[in-house]
Symmetry: C2
Subunit: 79 residues, 2 copies
């Protein structure tokens, strides 16, 4: 089982992408955690260290996949 | 079963994202087609009409998800 973390900030672009990963990622292969920065601002550092430059982003198997474009990490930190 | 199309242009960013969708999209829910523009340039118009602005991109359930950033559609057309 591969651990995956989906980072988002609650914007409409994020919510749309969250629905896609929840609906269509294979949950027999992926253990998905959703991290919302407004609820968990302490996770911002960890996300940046994983290479997250904007949200929404999916970190999976050592890779960061930025999906569309909701907000930069700088915008997230200002919120 | 939801039809999905992954568009790419063979760049390293595309190949990496292709591996992710092949490995982790739930193939019990998603019927995935891979379209490589160098092999199928006639599919470029269809992709643009679906809202694809850069590759790699995944069109799924009426939405276009741009994953990271490989090349703009203008770059794809110039190749």
């Amino acid at each position: 089982m591969q651990k995956a973390i989906f980072y988002h900030a609650g914007c409409p672009v994020c919510v749309n992408a969250e629905k896609m990963v929840l609906d269509y990622l294979d949950d027999s292969k992926v253990d998905l955690e959703i991290v919302h920065f407004e609820e968990n601002p302490s996770r911002i550092n960890e996300a940046e260290e994983a290479g997250v430059k904007s949200v929404p982003a999916l970190v999976l198997n050592g890779q960061t996949y930025h999906i569309n474009y909701g907000a930069s990490m700088e915008d997230v930190k200002k919120d």
